[in-house]
């Protein structure tokens, strides 16, 4: 029971290892559960002397009541122990949940940020919340059951042999027959079960897609097209489950029937009655067998449940193990501090773990302090990858990335992130007050500093005028009560307060409306004052004045220079620029109605 059950891979910690922080509760729970079992069997055993006394001509009835009282005491002890074994194991399981969640979230702070971004908060939430919760079911419910399930037959069999070895052997006779039934029931169980699991999984993803796509589908017709897909997929999955049941039903039924109490009672009567009639058995002993033997046979059933619980827990353990196995970003011993606000990529080659091609090949870019550098190129050219490497979302495979003249690998990660602020396309807000959301950039900031940052980010006015509680207004879930542009300005206020000398900006591609767009632009201008700014540019107009424009294509730098020189070169940038010009001039049905336009 102690070894890593069902997990041959030594690198992935098994179930028992993961739950080991609460071993104390687990073992106490098991011990108390065992005690409960022993007390219960004890109370039952007392019925033997009680009934024997009744059958004999003994007249001392005080003795009888005394035995009954002890039996009562034992029953109550058993109940108290049982309740407490579950309570202990539950509380242990809750403690384990908290330990694991703290451990996993701390770990998330040390793995490459890129892993976090790519995995997505939904999937991470599933591991940290739901999978950890799945372990709970195992620790809380099955550990006391484990103790009981495995000791009940053992203790029961011992008692039966003490009472009468012949009858004990007979009542065990059903065991092998039941086992054979079980064997047939659970033959191919693993593969069939997997098919059913897959089918269930499939049902879930079909439902998910159907629900998600419904809004879109309804704009095409009344939804019949996708309903058919949904309908067919459901039919398919249901068929799999139906087939599985048809195959396994009979075997499972036989096993379940044989391991129920009544067949055992039957065998005991068939053998016990003639034994009694021939004077080879006392009636109280037969009674004791009728009490104990069914308990022993029935204890097989929970073993099957426990197996299922183990299987469920194993899937959770696997996902938790995967998260635990993500390589940490190595933290240096000898930490250095950046000297200035410059950034330099020296012959950087980088490949995403699961991809074949390099995302960047031998890229060298020099970004002097206080300048604006724009990264441009088609989607997939590598501009976002360069941006993500600077705050060390990932480590480069070859070459070096220097911030302030120091290799990012020689810096503490919080030191690096104090120097580099990353402004994302999709703004992230806490469901907390506006003030706390801005203060996140500098936890000890005063209210004045918060307001100043909001003003600079063009957010002060709407906070005061449109929100009921001003800075104390609580942002709804995912900032739903604010418009996209407003949320963006709050995150810019946060970055202004954070005051990192280097800013990496993944320029937003879409803005809510013209008013907001202008305000965001002003906010960004405030943010960029006196900073080193690296912009992933989607609209070329915004970067015409950049000190340096770096053009990427297929993971390589193809051109670099200022706007004027690049246009004159007549290379890739010039092509992008003419595209841009064309896109800017476009309007629906412009050609046919040129005379009416400006």
């Amino acid at each position: 029971m102690q070894q890593d059950s069902g997990n041959p891979n030594p690198k992935e910690p098994g179930l028992w290892t993961i739950i080991s922080p609460v071993n104390k509760e687990i073992y106490t729970g098991m011990a108390v559960s065992l005690l409960s079992l022993i007390a219960w069997l004890g109370s039952i055993m007392l019925f033997l002397p009680i009934t024997e006394t009744l059958m004999s001509d003994e007249t001392n009835t005080g003795h009888l009541w005394f035995l009954l009282l002890i039996s009562l005491a034992l029953v109550i002890l058993s109940l108290v122990c049982r309740a407490f074994s579950f309570r202990i194991s539950h509380l242990g399981a809750f403690r384990l949940e908290q330990i694991l969640r703290t451990e996993l979230t701390s770990r998330l702070a040390k793995v490459p940020l890129g892993y976090v971004v790519n995995t997505g908060s939904g999937a991470l939430k599933k591991i940290v919340l739901d999978d950890v919760r799945a372990l709970h079911a195992f620790v809380a419910d099955s550990t006391p059951l484990f103790a009981k399930t495995f000791s009940a037959p053992v203790l029961g069999i011992i008692l039966m042999f003490i009472l009468d070895w012949r009858l004990a052997l007979i009542s065990l006779a059903l065991f092998p027959i039941g086992m054979i039934g079980m064997f047939f029931a659970f033959r191919d169980y693993e593969t069939a079960r997997k098919k059913v699991d897959d089918a269930t999984e499939n049902i879930n993803s079909v439902i998910n897609e159907y629900v998600q796509g419904m809004h879109v589908v309804r704009t095409f017709d009344d939804g019949s097209g996708s309903f058919e897909r949904y309908h067919d997929a459901l039919d398919q999955a249901t068929k799999t489950v139906r087939d599985w049941t048809a195959k396994s039903q009979t075997g499972a039924f036989i096993a379940r029937t044989l391991f129920a109490a009544l067949p055992t009672v039957l065998v005991l009567l068939a053998v016990g009655v003639p034994m009694y009639q021939s004077g080879n058995l006392e009636l109280p002993v037969l009674m004791m067998f009728l009490l104990i033997a069914p308990t022993v046979t029935e204890s097989i059933v929970p073993i099957v449940w426990l197996q299922q619980l183990l299987v469920n827990a194993a899937a959770a353990v696997k996902r938790i193990g995967q998260l635990r196995n993500v390589k940490l970003i190595p933290e240096t011993e000898d930490a250095k501090i950046p000297q200035d606000a410059s950034v330099e990529l020296k012959n950087v080659t980088f490949k995403y773990e699961n991809r074949e091609d390099n995302a960047l090949t031998d890229v060298s870019i020099n970004i002097p302090a206080g300048q604006v550098t724009a990264l441009v190129g088609a989607s997939g050219a590598g501009k976002s990858t360069v941006a993500q490497l600077i705050p060390r979302f990932w480590d480069v495979n070859q070459g070096q990335l220097l911030v302030g003249g120091v290799d990012v690998k020689d810096m503490k990660s919080d030191e690096l992130l104090k120097h580099v602020a990353f402004v994302f396309q999709s703004p992230f807000l806490l469901s907390d007050t506006i003030a706390n959301n801005i203060r996140l950039g500098k936890p000890n900031a005063t209210q004045e500093e918060v307001v100043a940052a909001a003003k600079a980010a063009q957010a002060h006015d709407f906070i005061m005028e449109e929100l009921a509680d001003g800075y104390d207004s609580v942002v709804g879930e995912r900032g739903s009560s604010l418009s996209g542009g407003q949320r963006q300005r709050i995150t810019i206020a946060r970055a202004i307060l954070q005051d990192a000398p280097i800013i990496v900006l993944d320029e937003a591609t879409a803005f809510a409306d013209p008013d907001n767009e202008a305000k965001i632009h002003r906010a960004l201008a405030e943010l960029a004052k006196g900073k080193t700014l690296i912009v992933v540019a989607h609209r070329l107009s915004t970067i015409v004045d950049a000190h340096q424009i770096v053009v990427l294509d297929k993971g390589q730098v193809v051109e670099a220079g200022d706007h004027q020189s690049l246009v004159e070169r007549n290379g890739q940038y010039a092509k992008l620029w003419s595209h841009f010009d064309k896109a800017q001039g476009w309007g629906i049905r412009n050609q046919s109605t040129t005379n009416q336009s400006v």
Binding site: S224, L269, T509, S592
Partner: protein, 579 residues
């Protein structure tokens, strides 16, 4: 219990009769089991007396056990059928409902929420209906039958047994309400923890920079601590009632035993009966003790049934009976007023507008001004409280949904592609389209080239390449759909605003093809894209403040002119770090 039972039967839909017969089997099996145990009384008495009737009793018990097994087989078959088929049927019903219910109601529900109804809630209902109810029936009926049989042996014992059940009932109530409370507390704490974990992972880069991570992340840690506290509290709440109810059962059993011993001592009862009584009561003690926990499961089922019925109860938007034929494709709003909820602020106020056939109409205004609502009402996302909307002269309420939707092609800013091949994704617009038609549409939408360059061409699964499709490419696939559909009215919801410069040109070309000879309604953020419109409608707070051609609106020097100038100025905005 009866109400739960009725709900469950009706939740089984067309399989209600199967469910009923499975339950009947369960009852019969329980009766057989109860009688088999009851026969232990005469059996033991016969044994003690050395009577020859012994084998009759053994024989009867054997028959009852076989009957029990037979009935249980029937129950289990029916249970499985309910489990599998009801799940299938309910999901299909829910699926039908999703395509029927008003889109506005659909949009209000989060995808995750709907998912959990279709997966989790359906499962809760069928697993309880399919399996658990049989156990409950067994727990209730088998002991009852035994008690009744006991009357024939000794009425005093039977009455003592009968007292046990009623006494336990209030305890069951307590457990049920405690469990419900515990579930609620724990569900709330879990939801709280879930949102904090999501928040934490999303904000990790900021949190790392300010060292608010892991154990130092106060918000997250506080939420995790709250969760554990709630769980612990709930468990402690449950300990006492669970213990008390099992104690009640066990102590009651011992009391009955004591009573029987007392009767034996007074020579009012045979010793053999006491032995039989001990066997029976102890056999039934365990099921009775767990019965309370089982009853808590019914709350799960009740909740699940409620959530499913609630979804099924949403009425589709009514379609008027009178036949209505559309002639032409002009669109008209006559004095339309709309709010999402009766008491809410009005999103559109007395909006009247006219969109002639083949004209180009632009809707402009800041976010929340109502421009998207106009297109939503037109596609019957919801019905307005006041006013009429007509397409081709016909009130849209008199058209069926498919008739109405056949008038429109809609291209959104966000593109949703199904996890299927590109070809199937395009075909969605016209299920019987030939391969040639699809290729033609793709060519017209300027996406044939990149699709052909993919390893499997049109057969390539969208899921396989996932992120490899750029926003512009996805947008062009959605335009190919719209072109294939060839609906007379095209609605564009700022389809180019989220694209890279390079994709933008390609998408623009695709749109040029799409809008040829169509009635076009476009929601525009970038005003320069709609200067050629026949009519530009400027909305503010749900009202039309201006409308007309670009040049006329500029001359008016109103809201439109103001927005135009702001955008023109911003076009020359550039990021610089030195100010």
């Amino acid at each position: 219990m009866i109400a739960t039972f009725k709900n469950m039967i009706s939740a089984c839909g067309s399989k209600a009769s199967v469910m009923q017969s499975a339950l009947l089997y369960a009852c019969l099996a329980a009766v057989a089991q109860g009688l088999a145990y009851a026969l232990v009384f005469p059996l033991f008495t016969a044994l003690a007396n050395g009577s020859t009737d012994v084998w009759w009793y053994v024989g009867a018990i054997i028959l009852l056990i076989i009957a029990d097994a037979y009935f249980r087989l029937g129950e289990s078959k029916g249970g499985w059928e309910v489990y599998i088929e009801v799940a299938d049927e309910t999901r299909k019903n829910l699926g039908e409902q999703l395509k029927r219910m008003p889109l506005e109601k659909l949009a209000r529900r989060q995808t995750g929420d709907l998912n959990s109804v279709l997966t989790g809630n359906v499962n809760d209902v069928v697993s309880i209906a399919g399996g658990l109810f049989g156990i409950v029936i067994n727990t209730m009926i088998a002991p009852t039958v035994t008690v009744i049989a006991t009357f024939f042996i000794d009425w005093r014992l039977a009455i003592a047994m009968m007292i046990l059940f009623p006494v336990a009932i209030p305890m069951y109530r307590i457990i049920r309400s405690t469990a419900a409370e515990e579930n609620k507390i724990s569900a709330e704490a879990h939801a709280d923890a879930a949102s904090h974990i999501i928040e934490y992972t999303q904000g990790l880069s900021v949190l790392r920079a300010t060292r608010q991570v892991g154990a130092q992340s106060q918000r997250l840690q506080a939420s995790l601590a709250r969760l554990r506290h709630a769980q612990t509290h709930g468990t402690k709440l449950m300990t006492m009632p669970t213990m008390l109810i099992s104690a009640l059962v066990q102590v009651g059993i011992l009391a009955i035993t004591a009573l029987s011993i007392y009767l034996v001592l007074g020579d009012a009862l045979g010793v053999a009966s006491v032995l039989a009584l001990i066997v029976i009561t102890i056999r039934f003690s365990e099921p009775l003790a767990i019965f309370a926990n089982l009853s808590a499961m019914f709350d799960f089922m009740e909740t699940a049934i409620d959530r499913i019925s609630e979804l099924l109860a949403v009425k589709p938007l009514p379609t008027a009976d009178k036949e209505c034929v559309t002639s032409g494709f002009h669109v008209n709003f006559d004095n339309v007023t709309f709010s999402y909820d009766q008491n809410d602020e009005k999103v559109l106020k007395h909006v009247s507008l006219d969109i002639p056939e083949r004209s180009l109409t632009a809707l402009v205004g800041s976010s929340g001004s109502g421009k998207t609502t106009i297109t939503k009402l037109l596609t019957r996302f919801a019905d307005p409280q006041n006013g009429h909307i007509t397409v081709g002269g016909a009130d849209i309420r008199s058209l069926t949904q498919s008739e109405l939707m056949s008038q429109f092609s809609v291209v959104f800013q966000d593109v949703y592609l199904f996890d299927d091949s590109i070809e199937e994704n395009i075909r969605l617009a016209k299920p019987d389209a030939t391969k040639e038609e699809i290729t033609e549409a793709a060519m017209a939408a300027n996406c044939h080239d990149f699709i052909s360059a993919l390893p499997k061409g049109y057969e390539t699964g969208v899921g396989e390449i996932g992120g490899a499709l750029s926003g512009g490419e996805r947008q062009r696939i959605s335009i190919a759909r719209a072109i294939l559909k060839d609906a007379p009215i095209v609605i564009l919801d700022e389809p180019t605003s989220a694209l890279d410069t390079e994709s933008e040109v390609a998408v623009q070309k695709a749109i040029d093809t799409l809008v040829k000879d169509k009635t076009v309604i476009v929601i525009a953020h970038r005003l320069s894209t709609v200067v050629a419109a026949d009519n530009i409608i400027v909305l503010e707070s749900g009202e039309i403040v201006e409308q007309g051609r670009h040049t006329r609106l500029l001359e008016q020097d109103g809201r439109y002119a103001e927005m135009w100038q702001a955008q023109q100025a911003d076009r020359h905005w550039q990021i610089t770090s030195s100010h």
